[in-house]
Every structure is written in C-alpha cells, then in structure tokens.
C-alpha cells in the first residue's frame, strides 16, 4: 500500500482522471445489479402467473439500457485509468532517461547496462501496472464487493449471504498464496531463461573457436542441459499454475452448493422465493471477480512497490561531477597545462594512477603520450574531460582551471576519439554528424576525407547512407576508428584527443591521417595517446609514461638520442612496419 503513497504525486497531478475513473467504476458496479434483479423478478412473475407483456417489455428494455450504459462507461473508465497508467510509465521512462544523461562515467562503471535496462523496462512496467490494474483491482473489488454483498443482504437475505460467502475468503487466500509461489518460481524460470540467453549469445560470438576446436558436441550438451533446466523450472511454474483455476472452481462450486442448499430450506419455509434464489446465485457469480481481483491486488502492489524502490534509488543518485555555482560559461581556450601532484581512482587505495605529471602544451601544438597498457595514458586524458576530479593538482586551459568552467563549456573545447569508439545504429553520415546534427553533406564528406575513410564509405552499397552499429553492417576496427576521428573532427574543437585511435589503421593510412591533421588543425591543440610510435613521431612534445609517472619527455629526436625505453620501442616497431609494408610495396 505504501506504493500508493509514493505515487501520490502522480495521482494528484491527474486528479480528475483518477476520480472520474473511480466514480465510473462505482456506477458500473451499481448498474450491474439491475439485470439479475430483473431476471429474478420475471421468474417470480412467471411462477406466480402475474407476468404481463408490459412488465416483460419493461424488464427487457431495462436490461438493454443497462447493457448500453455499461458499455459506454466501461470503455470510459478503461481509457481514464489505463490511459493514466500508460502516462505514468511514459513519464517515469522520460525521467530515467534524463537522469541517465546526467550520470558520470563512474556511474556507468559501477552499473551494468543490462540492469539499467531492466529498471527502465521491467520495473517501470511493474509500477505502471500498479497504477493501472492495481488501482482497478482495488477499487473494483471493494466497490463491486460492497455493492453486490450489500444488495444481497438488503434485497434477499443476510443469512444466506453469510452462508454463501463462507468459502470465499479461502479463495482470496489461495489466490494470494499461489500468486506468491508462482511469482517466486517464475523468477527462477526467468533466471534460467536469461542463463540460456547469455550462453547462446556467447556461443554465437565465439562460433569460430567452437568450430575450430571441434567443440560442437560439447556446446550441444551444454545447450540441451540449460534448455532442460528452463523446462524443469517452467514445469515447476506449471505445477502451481494449473492448481490456480481448479482450486478457485472448487471454492466457487462450494459457495453455489451452500447457497442452493440453504436457499432451498429458506424457500421451503417461505423465507424467500425461487426468483430470489436465482437472483442470488447470479449475484454470487458477480462476486467471483472481485475476490480474484483482491488476491491479484496484493501481488501487483508487492511487485510495484519493490520496483518503485529500485527506480527511486536509481533516480536519487546524484551526478558525480557537478558545476560549481560560480562556473564560467565561456569556452576555454589557450595553452593546456597539467599540474597533477597525485591522482587516485575513487575505488583504488593502493596506488596512485598518476603522480607528479607536469606538462605544458602550447596552443596549436601536438602532444604524444606513449607507454604500455596501464601506464596511465587514458587516465591522463580522462582527467581533462572531468570524468574524474583530481585530488591534488589542477589542469588549466588558457590559465583557467577546468574546474572553474561549466562542464558544458569545457566539453565544447574538447573533441574525443577513443580507441574502441561506439557507433550508433544510424547511417554513417548521421554518425559522423553526431556532434553537429545540422552539418551539411559537404562538411561530412570533408571530415571523412581528412580521416581517410571517404573511399571506404563510398565502396559500401549505400555509401554515406549505410547503416552501421549493432543493427547495421559490421565495420572493421580501422574503419570504425577512422569514422570516430571524422566525427571528432566535425566538432571543430580547439583540443582534439586521439586515445589510441589509430591502432587498427595500417601504417600508410595512419601517416596520411596525421599529415591531413597537421594541415587542417593549424593553431589548434592535438593530444595523441598511442602504442605505435609512428603516430607521435612528428609531435612537438612526447611523454613516456610508466606507472603513472613521466619517465621520458622530449621530441622524437631528443628521445631517440636518450637511448632509453622510447628508442627500444621505436626500433622494434620500425622493423615490423617494414614487414607489413612488404606486402604492398613489392
């Protein structure tokens, strides 16, 4: 019931809709009393031979009136109540989505996308059901129940009413009990289903391994076992499920029996007549639904309130990175300066991710960042985007701390192309124009040329209209990276950040991209993190990171002369790229 209090904000906002729906439900419950009364009346008149044609016509017309009136009203309350619950679902999804767009990367590291999806789909539908079927079952079972029982007591016999209702609480109990057991087993069945889903997903992703190692029989065995598990869990559900309706029938049958048996005694003693007895059993039939509904109600509310808790917990998480109240709203510009004394990830206590990183990149210069995996290259770049805030130290652009600038303005100064970039299920043109939706076709083609991906795109059957992403064609790693670069270039930001974005691009294309960048990005800053040194050879400044510290710093020539790590890496890679080139050159 608490969930109704939690949802009060919505009910209040849609006061008329809900009040109207409830009033209509009550009117329908009252109208439904008419037909059984008429049936009873006519039976009595037939029996006592007092029926006249006028009476008969009036009775039949009254039923007709009820039929038409309830049709209209039933349609109306459905539209009001269910329409309201659909509205609630829509609003909750909008809120969640809005909230998701405010969450920082840290949030996405902690939460699994599958779980977030489940909140936005399953939990929202459970809440929606509470506001729709929940309200309906509550109002309907109470009004119909009260009205029908009241009528039975007043117009027929309170004694018979009590007798016939004796078995019905059993039904509400059974429904709620079975409902709970069903829910529990159903959850298990769902879990088994999601297991098999994951397994099939993995099997298909790894199909080459499965086939090359001849593991088909093993995979089949696994699949059959999981599939059997799904069947077993579902049989457990079926066992309860198939008890449901028959149990209810027995209880209803018992109720009918009691009312006919005891009713017959009343008829014999002239405490009531046959018509009343028939009317009574018809009313009894009308009580089945509210009883069932009452049982369902508890399950709906239970699920709804668990879901509401999960959703509101999610909504209450505050964004990790927020603007200062006095944040500047101008886009920062100028020299980029890192003064990092120390940075640790919030969940890591043992060692600093970066330590004593001090460097200055003058506006228009290119900085190369090299080092092995885990040396801190990506961390260094992430700090610039305020994915995390530095505990000790500062980063400034044009002398202004990035923490003094509004996040939106800071991001306007930066364009980012990560190694494993995400492309959306949209056309290539739409993906490139992601940051500037209104970009012209010429602008899109121009950046694609700069990123050396124009020819690849033209080779696709649909050219720039080719759909990519999860539901489109599969691109090679190199193509994805180049589209990601084109996308970043179209942002036309002062600082371009390439985080190992050329790793899957061959040496010649890499060189062409770097040359194009140099020409195109005059006066603007570029940061390139890479494993492959050829990408930073022409940088104005190169830093070599190791365990979060700068171990070598200088230009390509200076670093080669130092005969250190950089030189070792360079020579090895030089040879290998020559081997690669051998295939094309000769």
């Amino acid at each position: 019931m608490r969930v109704f209090r939690d949802l009060m904000w919505f009910f209040r906002a849609h006061r008329n809709r809900y009040l109207g729906g409830i009033v209509l439900l009550i009117i329908v419950a009252l109208l439904s009393l008419i037909p059984p009364q008429i049936v009873g009346m006519i039976i009595n008149q037939i029996q006592s031979k007092t029926l006249t044609k006028t009476h008969l016509t009036e009775g039949v017309l009254a039923i007709l009136f009820t039929a038409l009136a309830t049709y209209g009203l039933r349609y109306w309350w459905r539209v009001l109540l269910y329409g309201g619950s659909i509205q609630l679902g829509t609003e909750l999804r909008t809120r969640l989505y809005h909230h998701f767009t405010l969450m920082s990367p840290q949030f996405y590291h902690q939460q699994r996308i599958g779980d977030l999806m489940a909140h936005a789909t399953n939990d929202v539908s459970a809440i929606q059901e509470t506001a729709g079927d929940g309200v309906l079952t509550l109002v309907d079972s109470i009004t119909t129940g009260v009205v029908v029982i009241g009528t039975m007591v007043i117009t027929i016999s309170w004694k018979l009413t009590i007798v016939s209702l004796l078995p019905l609480p059993l039904m509400a109990y059974a429904v709620s009990r079975f409902g709970k057991a069903l829910h529990k087993r159903f959850t298990l069945a769902q879990a088994a289903f999601s297991d098999i889903n994951d397994r099939v997903q993995e099997y298909i992703s790894g199909i080459r391994v499965v086939r090359s190692f001849g593991q088909e029989a093993w995979e089949r065995k696994n699949f059959v076992a999981l599939s059997q598990d799904v069947v077993a869990k579902n049989v457990a559900v079926a066992r309860i499920d198939s008890l449901f309706d028959p149990t209810i029938s027995v209880i209803i049958g018992l109720s009918y029996f009691l009312s006919i048996a005891v009713g017959a005694v009343f008829v014999v003693h002239h405490a009531m007549n046959l018509g009343q007895l028939t009317t009574f059993t018809l009313y009894l039939g009308q009580l089945i639904w509210p009883m069932l509904a009452f049982g369902f109600f508890f399950n709906i509310v239970e699920r709804g309130s668990a879901s509401y808790d999960r959703v509101s917990n999610l909504l209450s998480i505050a964004p990790a990175v927020e603007d200062r109240p006095d944040a500047l709203h101008s886009v920062p510009s100028g020299d980029l300066v890192y003064r990092v004394r120390e940075f640790r990830y919030p969940d890591a206590t043992d060692r600093a991710a970066l330590q004593d990183v001090n460097l200055t990149v003058h506006r228009g210069q290119t900085l190369g960042i090299v080092g092995r995996t885990g040396a801190g290259k990506t961390t260094l770049l992430r700090l610039l985007f305020r994915e995390f805030d530095i505990q000790q130290g500062d980063i400034t652009i044009g002398g202004i701390s990035i923490y003094a600038v509004a996040l939106k303005s800071l991001r306007a100064a930066l364009a980012y192309a990560p190694q494993d970039d995400f492309l959306f299920s949209a056309s290539i043109a739409q993906n490139i124009a992601f940051a500037r939706h209104d970009a012209s076709d010429e602008e899109i083609v121009a950046v694609a040329r700069l990123a050396q991906v124009d020819q690849d795109i033209k080779d696709f059957a649909d050219g720039y209209g080719t759909i990519v992403g999860e539901r489109g064609i599969t691109l090679s790693g190199g193509q994805k990276q180049r589209i990601s670069i084109a996308r970043a270039l179209l942002q036309d930001a002062e600082i371009l950040v390439l985080d190992d974005t050329l790793s899957a691009v061959d040496a010649r294309t890499e060189a062409a991209i770097l040359t194009a960048l140099k020409r195109n990005r005059q006066g603007r800053t570029t940061l390139i993190a890479t494993h492959r040194l050829s990408a930073v050879e022409h940088a104005d400044q190169i830093i070599v990171l190791e365990d979060g510290k700068i171990v070598e710093q200088g230009t390509h020539g200076e670093l080669l002369a130092q005969e250190g790590r950089y030189r070792d890496m360079y020579q090895r890679q030089q040879l290998e790229s020559l081997v690669e080139a051998g295939g094309i050159g000769s």
Binding site: V39, Y82, R471
Partner: protein, 595 residues
C-alpha cells in the same frame, strides 16, 4: 527493429506456419490424446453441474417434495462433480503445459543443431543479437502459444460445445437460437483480430525501438556526453517514448471497445432474448423454471471462455510471426562444408598443399586467385600482405570454414573435403587474432569441452606457452574466474591463454592468425617466445605480423589482391637485396631490440 518483419498479414502464410507448428505435436500423439480426453471428461463434469441443480429445482424444490435419501445423493453427486472437475482440470492443465514445454525443448534443440550446421557466412551476415533472439525469445513466444493459446482454445471450445450440448438437451428450440451466437462471437473475434493485430504489432515494434534506443544511449553515453548531445538525445527519446505511449493508448482504446465491454453487451442481449422467449411462452403454456435457471447460468458461463480466447489472440499472432522467423532459419539451405566420400583419411605428418586454389565469398570478386604452395611437415609458411589481400581467406579455407570453390587443398595427400570434421579439428590448431574467452575459469578455457585433458595437462600446456607464471598470480590461479569475453585480463594474457588452449590439444598442424593489436613490450616478448616454441615440430601456416615468425619461416608468401606476388625464404629474399635486405641491415644495427 529494422531487421524484423514489419508487415502484418493473415491468410495462407499464417495458416501454413500454424499447421507446421501443429505437426510438432505429432510425436506426442499419445499425450495429446490423453490430455484432450481428460479435458473432455472435465468439461462434461463441469457442464453437468447446473443440470443437477435444475433437477433439484424442478423435481423437488418446486413441488416441495424432499426425500432425504435422494437429496443426499444429489448433493453428494453435485459436490463430487465439483471436485472431479477440479482434479481433472489440474491434470489436464499440467499435461498441456508439460506437452508445450517438451515441444519447445525439441524445437530449440532442432534450431540449435541447425545453427551448428550452418555455414560461417551466415554468422557474418546475421547480427548476434538477432540470432540469440531467434533461439530464445521467438521460441518462447511459440511456447506461450502452445501453453496458453492452444490449451485455452481447446479447453474453451470444448466448454462451449459442452454448454451447447447441455442447452440442446434442455430445450432444443431455444438452444437452436443460441447457435446464432457462434457467428456473432466469431465475428467479434475476427473484427478484433483485424483491428487490434496491426496496432499490437506497431506497439511491439515501438517498444523494441524504444528499448534499442535506450540500450544504445546507455552504451554510447560517453560519446553523447563528450559531444554535448544530451538535449538532442533526450528529445529523440521523448519522441519515441511518446510514440510508444500513443500506440499503447490505441491498444487500450481498442481493447475497451471490442473486448470485455462488448462481450458484456452481447451477453446482456442474449439474456434479454432468453427472458423474452420464456416470458412470451409463459403466456400460452407452463414454463419450466429449472430450465430457465439452467439457461441463465449457462449463459453467464458461456462468455468466460470467449473473453479468455479474445484476450489471447494477440499472443497467437505474435507466435505466428516468431514461428515464421524460426522456420526461416530451419529452412536455410546454406550449410557449412562437411566430409565428402567415405575414405576417412588421417592427418599423419602434416604436409599441406594448395593446388591452384581460387575462392570468392560472393561469387563475383575472387579474393584468392590461383594460389599454390606446399608446406612440408614441420615447416612454417608465413603469409604477409596488407588488409584485404586474402590472408584470412587462406585460413578460412584451410580450416574448412568455407568450401573450396576451385582447385584443391591436400593434407598428407588427401583432399581436405574427404576428411572427417573431428579429425581436422583435433589435428589442426587454430590460434585466432581475437582470442575469444568464454565465461568460466582459466582451466575451463584451456580445456574447453575435452574432459580427457587432465589438470596436469592444462598446467603443462600453460607452462609450455609461459602463461603459468601470470596465471598463478591471479586470485584462484587456474580456477580464477573469467568474465564475459575475458574482460578482466589484458589482451596479451588472453592471447597466451588461447595459445595454451591450442597446445592442450597438441595439434599436428598450427594455423596462426597473428594479432596486429599492439601490446606492451614484455607481453610481446612472452608471446613471441611462446609462438616459437609452439611452431617447433609442427607444420605452421601463419598470417604473420611478427618479425620472428617471418624470419624463421621456411617459406614466405607475399599476397597482393589474392595473388602470390613474391615467394621465398628469408635467405632467398635477402639475396634479392630488396626490401628484405634493408630490413635485415636495420636489424643488425639495432642489435638488442630484436632478439
């Protein structure tokens, strides 16, 4: 979803799909017959209940004649019927559900077996998500059809027929009028199907668009935020959300107009007719009140099953769409290559010969043109060339992932086509560029499904490729859990585990698709060392990027646009004083950089 069939049709296709689904019940004939028999019995006992009350009213209550013995029997019979109905129904419902589950289990396994046989080309074309949804979600929709729709339709129709029979027994003339109900109810169902079907489909489509948008936004949130596109995406999501809301609302409207409220009007109309009929008759003759009571009761019972069926029509339509998709996969003719003939040759020493092999994926452009070479037992053949030169196709053909179009590939003198699948898989070890790890632990990833590989062998395979030391540092060592796609390990570590996996099989032939992805120097050294050891004593075909592999190769093939443009070993190529020579000199100069 754009991939899914969007059109909505009824008619011959739906009927064909439905009949084909029904055929899955054939092997379970006995169970089907049993369930239906129990269902019939349950319906009979159910329908008989009001008749007992009618007997009671007419024979005893109206004439006020109460012989206690008969009445007790009557009461016992009534309660007996109530209980019998329930018990029979429990069995019937359970049997139907188990039957449906068995059918789906068979369909799922059949689908899985089919997927196992399909050519790899199929997987290149079909997104993983779509395939997964065929095997799980679509079969689930069909299950719902069998479980709820089929059993409830059979049950409800039986109940309806039972009620009609009972009515005929009570009053044939009035019951005959009742037959009008069949076309009326059928008409409403047809109308509902017509009107709600398309809306239902649109609603489902919009929901899947909504989910796809949400999923994609969550995955691409870093991009969205760094490019400051939150307001636009919120707007786009809002539009999709609103479109979904409208579709849902339309659904509610149609359900409100055509489902229960309309059926209630039909019910009350018929009630009017019954009263009118009995009322009018009472003016000329004596009316049997018991019959009237029974009719009124039957009437109120008649509409429960009808409502039940109406509500499930949407599931039926959804199941037909799903079944059609499943059958499309089952009917896919594109099977992977298999053993031909019954020679059953063995891989003995591992001599590999390509004889004038040409190959095309699409039947138009050749990705391999007249490729011929021989790898003698124990030799290493390195293939170099730029992206798209056809290097990977050599591996795809050799591993028999794709059938050889033209020319022949021979292993130890026998045509590749004549080998048994298992023989090939056991004797040829493939090391893939992207080392795919499965959810499980280190041991299960090295051993895969081969229970015959002992723990000691797992460890020695890991030692052999020098993965043992890093594995022992992991929490849990060989039992260290591995998450989705091995995300907890670095690229180099994944690479080494996949090497160990290959070595545990101890293949005669090694097929290497070396990774281009750059890893840090130390891991790189470990990988090189492992590769060198693995190649020793095995025929190796390598798509090579690593200098060490190429330098040691007995034969180096340079591929360009599917053709071998240059071949020879290290010395021969060196003697040409071409590019190779230049490389060699550079290597001499740098000394310690390359070991």
């Amino acid at each position: 979803m754009s991939m899914e069939t969007l059109d909505y049709r009824e008619g011959p296709r739906t009927r064909g799909v439905f009949l084909r689904l029904l055929r899955y019940m054939l092997p379970h004939r006995a169970k089907v017959v049993l369930s239906i028999a129990i269902l019939l019995a349950a319906t009979a006992t159910d329908v008989f209940q009001p008749i007992l009350i009618k007997i009671f009213i007419d024979r005893y209550l109206v004439p006020k004649h109460f012989p206690s013995g008969v009445l007790i029997e009557l009461a016992a019979a009534y309660l007996g019927l109530v209980v019998a109905t329930s018990v029979l129904n429990i069995f019937q419902l359970l049997l139907f559900q188990i039957l449906a589950l068995d059918i789906i289990q068979r369909l799922r396994v059949e689908l899985f077996d089919k997927i196992q046989e399909l050519a790899l080309a199929f997987f290149d074309r079909t997104p993983v998500g779509v395939l997964v949804s065929r095997i799980t979600n679509d079969t689930q929709a069909i299950l719902d059809m069998f479980m709820t729709v089929l059993s409830s339709f059979v049950q409800n129709i039986t109940v309806l027929v039972g009620i009609l029979i009972a009515m005929f027994a009570l009053d044939a003339t009035l019951a005959a009028y009742f037959l009008i109900l069949i076309p009326v109810v059928g008409g409403v169902m047809f109308l509902y199907g017509r009107v709600s079907g398309p809306i239902f489909h649109i609603t489902r489509q919009r929901l899947s668009i909504l989910n796809a948008k949400l999923n994609e936004s969550l995955q691409g949130m870093p991009v969205i935020q760094s490019m400051r596109q939150e307001p636009r995406l919120r707007r786009e999501f809002g539009e999709i959300n609103e479109a979904y809301r409208r579709a849902r609302f339309r659904n509610t409207q149609i359900n409100g107009l055509l489902l229960r409220p309309l059926m209630d009007v039909v019910y009350l109309s018929v009630l009017m007719l019954v009263l009118w009929y009995f009322g009018m008759r009472s003016f000329s003759q004596v009316v049997n009140i018991g019959v009237l009571y029974a009719f009124v009761t039957y009437l109120s019972r008649f509409f429960e099953p009808v409502n039940g069926m109406l509500q499930r029509m949407n599931f039926f339509q959804q199941a037909m769409v799903s079944a059609e998709r499943v059958f499309q996969i089952l009917d896919n003719p594109g099977l992977g290559p298999r053993q031909e003939g019954d020679q059953d040759p063995r891989v003995t020493v591992g001599r590999i010969t390509f004889e004038d092999v040409s190959f095309s994926y699409d039947g138009k452009t050749d990705v391999l043109k007249h490729v011929s070479f021989t790898a003698e037992p124990g030799q290493t053949v390195a293939i170099v060339g730029h992206t798209g030169s056809g290097k990977s196709s050599v591996v795809n053909l050799l591993m028999r992932f794709y059938p050889v179009d033209r020319g022949r590939i021979l292993i130890d003198g026998s045509d590749l086509r004549t080998f048994d699948n298992m023989e090939l898989r056991r004797k040829m070890g493939l090391v893939l560029q992207d080392p795919f790890l499965f959810v499980g632990d280190i041991t299960s990833n090295i051993r895969l499904g081969e229970d015959g590989i002992s723990l000691d062998q797992v460890v020695s395979a890991a030692q052999f490729v020098q993965a043992d030391s890093f594995i022992r540092q992991l929490p849990g060592a060989y039992q260290a859990p591995i998450g989705e796609r091995g995300a907890t390990l670095s690229t180099g570590q994944r690479q080494l585990i996949s090497f160990a996996r290959t070595m545990a099989m101890d293949p005669k032939i090694l097929v290497l698709d070396e990774a281009t992805a750059s890893v840090d120097t130390e891991t790189e050294e470990a990988i090189q060392a492992a590769l060198a050891k693995m190649r020793h004593g095995r025929t190796t075909i390598a798509i090579a990027h690593r200098l060490s592999t190429i330098q040691d190769a007995d034969l180096i093939l340079v591929l360009n646009h599917g053709e071998i443009v240059e071949r020879g070993n290290h010395q021969e190529l060196l003697a040409r004083e071409g590019l190779y020579h230049k490389m060699y000199l550079l290597q001499q100069g740098s000394g310690r950089a390359v070991g």
